[in-house]
């Protein structure tokens, strides 16, 4: 066995690769500097999921930070049984759900506020995109999240089911119900929208 072969055996190929698993492996082995690389790789997707899920731009960075801090503290227990992104998005969705739950609880103790109307002074100059965003934001959390993950992030039903920890059938049903609800909300603008 020559020295080159020996070197290859001591250092498995996977560690030389630049994918998520290799970075995680290095992190587990003590090289914590690779974590910033993981953050850099996935921050956009994570931030976008948070933004779409919450329909809110203000809390995105805070929640994204929380997501990565949780990942950092639990990365050493990662079992390489599924993709890193599946695990990461599950944490992200859970953090979003936590935030929404806390927000709903806080709402109980706040004075009643009028909900923002989906349509306000609709005219020719109205921003159709804004109207649709409002309509999506008006959907219940459990219908909104699978729709945005599918239509905006391009997740498969399988990925959505894993991220939301539910069955594929449930995802399919929720997406359909979400679209029905959305259609109902946008019905007054049917002519304008469907042109």
């Amino acid at each position: 066995m020559d020295s080159e072969e020996k070197k290859n055996m001591e250092q498995p190929k996977i560690l030389l690769l630049d994918d998520d698993f290799s970075l995680i492996k290095r992190f587990i082995d003590g090289d914590e500097s690779v974590f910033s690389e993981l953050v850099k790789r996935h921050k956009d997707k994570v931030r976008n999921i948070i933004y779409l899920t919450l329909s809110n731009n203000e809390m995105v960075d805070d929640i994204a930070q929380e997501v990565f801090i949780t990942v950092y503290h639990n990365l050493k227990n990662f079992r390489f049984e599924s993709q890193f992104t599946t695990w990461l998005y599950r944490i992200t969705i859970n953090k979003c759900k936590d935030y929404l739950r806390k927000k709903n609880i806080r709402k109980i103790f706040l004075p009643l506020q009028e909900e923002e109307p989906v349509f306000e002074n609709i005219n020719e100059d109205s921003d159709i995109k804004q109207i649709v965003r409002n309509a999506v934001a008006a959907l219940p959390d459990k219908l909104r999240i699978p729709i945005v993950l599918k239509d905006l992030e391009g997740f498969s039903y399988q990925e959505i089911a894993e991220s939301m920890q539910c069955e594929i059938g449930t995802v399919k049903s929720r997406i359909f119900r979400g679209r029905e609800a959305l259609k109902k909300i946008l019905r007054p603008l049917e002519k304008e929208l469907m042109e």
């Binding site: 974590f35 731009n57 960075d61 801090i69 995109k129 945005v148 399919k172």
Partner: protein
């Protein structure tokens, strides 16, 4: 309809490319044959397109990684995390601790309950006293108990203890409140019984003595206390039977004919010997268990009540009470313990000698030689001078006959101590002689000699003050009487003044100060 609904759901998955080959073929066939499904499909596609195009990617966040790493480095320590979870941890440890304790001493809770029970039992067992003493039961009550099985529980006779037997023949007792006290104690049954049997006085006394002989036994069988608990010994049922048997036996023996009239059903005859044996047995076999009936619960507990000890305590208390009463009576007598060494203090500065104290076993008088009362100018307020009124009242009261108890008889070796006289008249210190008849007069003399001029002035001011106009007053009659009385007083005052002048003239050369020779035997005078 359900199928159509399923078809629409399939269409939704179809546009997402999430159908299996089979499903895809099925739905495509359906779409071809259904215009409605085609419309739905078109709408869904349009909606998906709208949604996809309405959102833009979120703008980039500069230095996000740096901030995340910084946050990680500043993330709270383990201690902080523990603090956050401290309520949960405390609850967890408490649960584990309790589980461990219960694992190794499973009877802990039972023991605690038992302890509490015994504490409660102890509380209700305190100060138990025989009902006979607390409710002040009479022979009549005991007779009623024997025949009617009921005892009044309290002296107000609002509560009743009733013994009885249920249809199965089992004993029961009940404590009940009775609104009408007459219901508790049917009146005069014992006397009716005695007269029905036509018993003579001696036989009636015997009945009384029979009932009386059960007093002690019954005393220790029903106990009550101030905590509203009643302790009943099960032997009470036997005691009642014994008492009843005793009375019936006696009645049968002494008035067989009349007794039969009262109790005609009664067949046969009580055997005296048998009854007395049975009675003795019931007296000697008293159960040590009492049934405690308390406001909280009813329980059976061992309780030893020593009637002899109780009697001893009662006797002791009675004696103490008697003693206390005697002491109280003694204390009613006045006892002033002045320091008799006052008279020995020869060097006390005269300026402090302001009081003259006359004392005897039941008599004390303190005379103030000089009293500094601040003067108040009342002219501005336009109200009468208080002193003027007080003096008139004082003078008026002199003529009112008030019963004054005579002074106690004075022993011959009595002494008079007058410190002020001590320096010049040492001889008279111990054997002073009386020139004035009573202490009342003595007081008047002192007052008059010291404040003679002031009195004169005050009486004049009084005359001015009480210059009444009869027409102004509604109590004309009273005013006239008062006027007459005042005239009489004025005359008397005048006479008194003259007498005083004589007295002063006679006393000149003998006394220059305010001290007076006192000749009261047995009265001790201390002037300080």
């Amino acid at each position: 309809m359900k199928n159509f609904y399923n078809d629409k759901e399939l269409l939704s998955a179809y546009i997402d490319g999430e159908l299996s080959q089979e499903e895809k073929k099925y739905i495509e066939d359906k779409i071809k044959s259904s215009l409605e499904l085609q419309k739905v499909l078109a709408d869904l596609k349009k909606l998906k397109e709208l949604t996809s195009n309405s959102f833009e990617k979120i703008s980039d966040s500069p230095f996000f990684e740096t901030r995340v790493i910084a946050s990680i480095n500043q993330s709270p320590s383990i201690l902080f995390k523990l603090k956050k979870w401290s309520p949960v941890l405390a609850f967890l440890f408490l649960t584990i601790g309790l589980m461990a304790i219960l694992r190794y001493s499973p009877n802990l809770i039972n023991n605690l309950i038992e302890n509490q029970k015994s504490n409660l039992a102890g509380f209700y067992k305190e100060n138990l006293q025989p009902l006979l003493y607390t409710a002040d039961l009479t022979n009549e009550d005991l007779y009623n108990f024997a025949f009617y099985q009921q005892l009044p529980l309290d002296s107000s006779r609002q509560q009743l203890l009733k013994l009885g037997y249920d249809p199965q023949g089992k004993e029961f007792f009940e404590i009940k409140k009775v609104d009408n006290p007459a219901d508790i104690k049917p009146a005069n049954n014992l006397n009716k019984f005695v007269s029905a049997l036509k018993l003579n006085a001696s036989e009636a006394r015997q009945i009384d003595s029979i009932i009386g002989s059960y007093t002690e036994q019954l005393s220790s069988l029903v106990l009550v206390n101030d905590k509203n608990s009643v302790a009943i010994n099960p032997s009470l049922w036997n005691a009642r039977k014994a008492l009843l048997a005793d009375i019936i036996t006696f009645a049968q023996k002494h008035a067989p004919v009349d007794f039969r009239k009262i109790l005609p059903v009664q067949e046969g005859k009580f055997d005296n010997n048998l009854v007395s044996k049975w009675v003795d047995k019931t007296k000697n076999s008293i159960d040590s268990q009492y049934i405690f009936c308390t406001p909280d619960s009813i329980f059976k507990e061992n309780f030893v009540f020593d009637i002899n000890e109780f009697k001893k305590n009662i006797n002791k208390m009675e004696e103490e009470l008697k003693k206390l009463n005697i002491e109280r009576n003694l204390e009613k007598d006045l006892k002033f313990h002045f320091d008799t060494n006052f008279d020995k203090e020869e060097n006390i500065d005269k300026q402090y000698r302001q009081f003259k104290v006359l004392i005897d076993s039941d008599f004390v008088k303190v005379i103030v030689n000089k009293l500094d009362i601040p003067e108040i100018d009342l002219n501005e307020l336009n109200i009468p001078d208080f002193d003027s009124i007080a003096t008139i009242i004082d003078k008026a009261t002199k003529n009112i006959k008030i019963y004054v108890p005579s002074l106690p008889s004075m022993p011959n070796n009595s002494k008079i101590f007058d410190d002020e006289n001590k320096s010049g008249k040492t001889k008279k210190r111990n054997k002073a002689e009386i020139k004035i008849d009573s202490l009342m007069n003595l007081k008047n003399v002192i007052a008059d000699s010291v404040y003679k001029e002031q009195l004169e002035k005050l009486s004049e001011s009084f005359n001015k003050q009480f210059n009444f106009n009869p027409d102004d007053s509604l109590i004309i009659k009273q005013n006239n009487e008062l006027k007459k009385e005042m005239d009489r007083l004025r005359k008397e005052l005048q006479r008194f003044r003259e007498e005083m002048k004589n007295y002063e003239n006679n006393g000149k050369g003998q006394k220059q100060d305010n001290s007076i020779e006192i000749r009261i035997e047995g009265v001790k005078v201390i002037q300080t």
